[in-house]
């Protein structure tokens, strides 16, 4: 079942009680978004799967400390971002060695465009754009990439991203501006 990103947060009392069925609902509702963020961020399917599982295990173990200051999605994404950062640190060399190979995979994300354009040329151009954006995203700093993915893939609001990364909204906007500007320059070349 695909869950929309607009799905509201699970009531906090459900988390606080730690009831098994309720936490399974949390997993069911948020697993696609957590996996999506980790996959787009790390570009390693296996790592994304493992870290998604780890994210929910950690959340489950820490569920009693969840005070509801943020939404469940923000809380889970914060754990996911930390796991992704730890993973990069622990496997930095391997990550960058594999980046060149995996960037080929993500270049094909353009093929997943549900483009209803009639013109094959327009479709090809759209795919090229997506490929160009991915190339820029891969070259961004980790922080900029994370902000960019949370904004344009997870469609999070600036305030929510600030909550996930524990940054000020102005800082998030500054990171996002640099990323967007770089992407626009590159995507402009692809047009």
């Amino acid at each position: 079942m695909e869950t929309t990103l607009a799905a509201g947060p699970v009531p906090l009392r459900e988390i606080a009680t730690g009831e098994l069925a309720d936490f399974d609902a949390v997993v069911r509702d948020h697993q696609p978004a957590v996996f999506r963020f980790l996959l787009s961020s790390l570009r390693e399917r296996e790592a994304a799967e493992n870290l998604t599982q780890e994210c929910f295990l950690r959340a489950y173990q820490a569920r009693r400390s969840f005070r509801g200051d943020a939404s469940v999605r923000t809380w889970l994404m914060r754990i996911a971002v930390n796991l992704a950062n730890d993973h990069r640190k622990s496997a930095r060399l391997r990550f960058w060695r594999r980046a060149a190979q995996t960037s080929l995979d993500v270049a094909f994300t353009g093929d997943w465009l549900a483009d209803r354009r009639s013109s094959p040329e327009a479709g090809a151009m759209a795919r090229e754009q997506v490929k160009a954006v991915w190339q820029v995203v891969a070259a961004l700093s980790e922080r900029q990439r994370t902000v960019f993915l949370l904004r344009f893939v997870e469609e999070m609001e600036i305030r929510e991203i600030a909550g996930v990364l524990r940054l000020r909204e102005g800082t998030v906007k500054a990171h996002l501006f640099r990323a967007v500007d770089a992407v626009r320059k590159k995507a402009g070349e692809a047009q």
Binding site: E2, L20, F23, D24, V27, R28, Q31, P32, F35, R36, L39, S40, R45, A48, E49, T52, Q53, F56, L57, Y60, Q61, V106, F108, T109, G110, D111, W112, L113, A114, A126, Q129, V130, A132, V133, W134, V137, L149, R151, F152, V153, E155, I158, V172, K173, L176, F177, A179, V180, D181, V183, R184, A187, A190
Partner: protein, 148 residues
């Protein structure tokens, strides 16, 4: 705002830095509004394509509830701790025995040294010690020697 939106201002807008004068201008200028929409298209396409790509990669739902996985992980961690403790014991036990042996040897050496010291400190060999009791060995002092 004096003119149309610059490229930087469009990037700022897309990044959420939305100035009120830019907002006013966009409401009035269809050219800039269209320019902004075109600028945002690659970002929207990127998001949509990435979501679709990720959805195709999404693993099947987990067959076991998260609590079971958590318990399994706890057991796994406990097993690892137990194995590490056993390994540490296997390494430590011979070292401890070796240390104990070294202490025992040191104790024996100490006892031997004390024995030797006792032997050496005697004024006469053991078989001659009864004779020693018979002889009063009082070396003459310098004062008594000069008076004779």
């Amino acid at each position: 705002m004096s003119g149309h939106l610059s490229s930087i201002e469009i990037s700022k807008w897309l990044a959420g830095m939305r100035a009120s004068d830019a907002e006013r201008h966009l409401a009035e200028c269809s050219g800039c509004a269209a320019k902004l929409e075109r600028a945002g298209e690659p970002l929207v396409r990127f998001g949509a394509a990435t979501r679709a790509w990720c959805a195709a990669q999404t693993p099947a739902p987990r067959p076991e509830p998260i609590a079971c996985a958590a318990r399994r992980k706890r057991r796994f961690v406990a097993m690892r701790i137990a194995l590490a403790a056993a390994a540490a014991l296997m390494v430590a036990a011979p070292l401890y025995r070796q240390h104990q042996r070294a202490l025992e040897v040191a104790r024996q050496d100490e006892a031997l040294l004390e024995q030797v010291q006792a032997e050496v400190s005697r004024s006469a060999p053991e078989p001659m010690q009864p004779l020693e009791k018979l002889v009063a060995w009082n070396p003459p002092s310098a004062h008594s020697g000069s008076s004779q």
